[in-house]
Amino acid sequence: MKRVGLLAAIPEGSRERLMELGREVSFPVDARIFEEGSRADRFWLIRTGTVNLDIHVPGRRAAVVETLGEGRLLGWSWLCPPHQWHLGAEAASPVRAWEFSAAEVLALCARDHELDHALLTYVVEVIGRRLRAARTRLLDLYGPYGSGSDQ
């Protein structure tokens, strides 16, 4: 796997220790990986394929709010209370990923402060990027003139 995203952000020694905890998993297209509101006790690094994050809308099929691709971190709700997924996730194509147990990774972080720092920094960056993307989309840039123009 080429080193993009999280793997590129973690120093080499820590990366190896983290990867020892990773389990290879795969999901067929349309598989539900996790559901909104359920317990967030793991995360994934996407190796190939794409995953849709969605929000449950009563009476309708879940609305997709973001698509994550190769190298991306899937799931950060395991890191902070209430440790519940606030979105659902579904494989948009066949997905191969590394799966990590949150408890094991947090235990490793307690011993490996470099990993702890790199992981936290990376997750904050991810959240920041998704926040910026969400705000940009709120601007409705491609919408009718005046609704989103920055001029």
Binding site: A63, E66, G71, A92, R132, D140, L141, Y142
Partner: protein, 268 residues
């Protein structure tokens, strides 16, 4: 280039989306304008209504093609023209994408919304001369799946990659959702050996250029198309000024090395 609009006859007008149409024009009689290059624009005159700048969206077989989104009086009048009617055309104006300077390099085409229109003739030129360049990646952001332009053509643009992402999707959309920069992860290109062509709303241009710089694409190889209101289109009235640039003459396509400091300042 003429100061007076030449009459062109409408030979085609088809719907792309609910508010956007592609109009095809041929000169009336022998009075054709000089050839347009991808990235350049024309001043289109809807008789009795007014004149606006519109990029060239296709150049095949001598037919001047424009994709127009109806947002106000003139653009709506141009969207409504029927085959056989006449419109006035001035041009060609502006700098163009300058594809020749990207020979041998990987190409990244990044479009947001109606910004795909000026990039279409560039992509068509690349696809028709596959050996002149490296890999072609086309990244398209649209508001919703229904707002996507040129649907039938996109498959042929994947050399090797053409991706679409939308801001908002209904439940039957099976593609990607998110900002256009997220598609960069799926594109294959060697950053320092890549030329990027970016067109869309200015917020999207800035976000894309920032991400490309971060990935190592040199600023002078990021070519962005900037829009300002235009009037004369001949470098005389100053309507289109951005800092030291008159965008009708020095743009609309500008290297990001020149554009970045100007876009960083809110009002110039």
């Amino acid at each position: 280039m003429t100061a007076v609009p030449l009459p062109y006859r409408v030979v085609g007008n088809r719907a792309e989306t609910t508010d956007t149409r592609t109009v095809e024009l041929l000169p009336v009689g022998d009075g054709a304008l000089p050839a347009f290059r991808p990235g350049q624009f024309a001043m289109l005159y809807a008789f009795g209504v007014g004149e606006i700048p519109v990029s060239v969206a296709g150049l095949r077989d001598g037919v001047l093609t424009h994709t127009i989104r109806g947002v106000g009086a003139v653009s709506r009048a141009l969207c409504a023209v029927r085959p056989g009617a006449h419109v006035g055309v001035r041009g060609p104006f502006g700098t163009g994408w300058d594809l020749a300077t990207a020979a041998g390099r990987d190409l990244l085409v990044v479009a947001g919304g109606i910004g795909l229109a000026p990039l279409r003739p560039l992509v068509q030129a690349v696809v028709s001369m596959p050996h002149r360049h490296g890999r072609l990646n086309v990244l398209i952001g649209a508001r919703t799946p229904e707002d996507l332009l040129y649907r039938d053509e996109l498959e042929g643009w994947a050399r090797p990659y053409c991706g679409v992402t939308v801001d908002r999707a209904g439940t039957d959309w099976r593609g990607q959702v998110g900002v256009v920069t997220t598609l960069l992860d799926q594109a294959t290109f060697t950053p320092h050996d890549t030329t990027a062509f970016v067109c869309g709303p200015e917020v999207m241009i800035r976000a894309t250029a920032r991400e490309l710089l971060h990935r190592g694409v040199p600023a002078r190889h990021i070519r962005v198309s900037l829009e300002r209101n235009m009037h004369c289109a001949t470098g005389h009235c100053g309507h289109c000024q951005l800092g030291p640039l008159l965008l009708c003459r020095d743009g609309p396509v500008v290297g990001y090395d020149r554009a970045q400091p100007l876009l960083a300042v809110r009002e110039l």
